[in-house]
Subunit: 147 residues, 2 copies
Amino acid sequence: MLIREARPGDEQAIHALVYALAEYERAPEQVTNTPEQLRIDLFEDKICDALVVESEGTIVGFALYYTSYSTWKGRCLYLEDFFVLPEYRRGGIGGELFQKVAAIARERGVKRMDWQVLEWNEPALEFYRKHEAILDPEWINGRLFFS
Amino acid sequence: MLIREARPGDEQAIHALVYALAEYERAPEQVTNTPEQLRIDLFEDKICDALVVESEGTIVGFALYYTSYSTWKGRCLYLEDFFVLPEYRRGGIGGELFQKVAAIARERGVKRMDWQVLEWNEPALEFYRKHEAILDPEWINGRLFFS
């Protein structure tokens, strides 16, 4: 398995993984983004970046992130999505992918790397604890949706 | 009171309000950002934008935001900080500021506006409920800090 930067043509596979993760997170109906929009956002407008995990030519995992901002800290890196198909998780590839994103955050000189995890997703919480992350349940997400 | 876009020279006042909000949020020691860094990030590198509330030449409130990304939805607007000094809150200026940010989100054509609120901050929760926001407590913040 190899980890590489996403490139044009990967958008279908990334979108399929976004959907698979949303299914696991019990919210597949909330995915309205399309592979074509992902292609534009990642490779044309470059408002986010992604790494993919490839196994024998198939994309089996990905991490998507962008530079965010904290008034307290300054520039941060936001890890928006991070997923490896369960059947490919042995061998520590998830940890490798996570560390690779953290290394990119360090390279960019940001102060903090942020993400969110569902409160009932115990395997993910355990994974992040193992990576010495701070897990803070004190904040509630506020959202306004526009159609 | 008037709401206007932040401009160079406002960074000291914005930083003071960031600090005042962090004090209210019981975490002033976590503010390591500086007025000078805020100036660069807002007005030179333009990685975020801000609106300020001015009362007789004094800045008494602000909202700071940037374009973020959701793999589920596409482009979003993240409202990173939003604060009006308590003594200036009468007259609905907070609601006006919030609606102004929502209008900017709509203008940018984003799918969603996001922010976070502390679970014990009942006045803020009540404010967001009044503005018909979705409040979702199911996500935990994960963080890695870099020094």
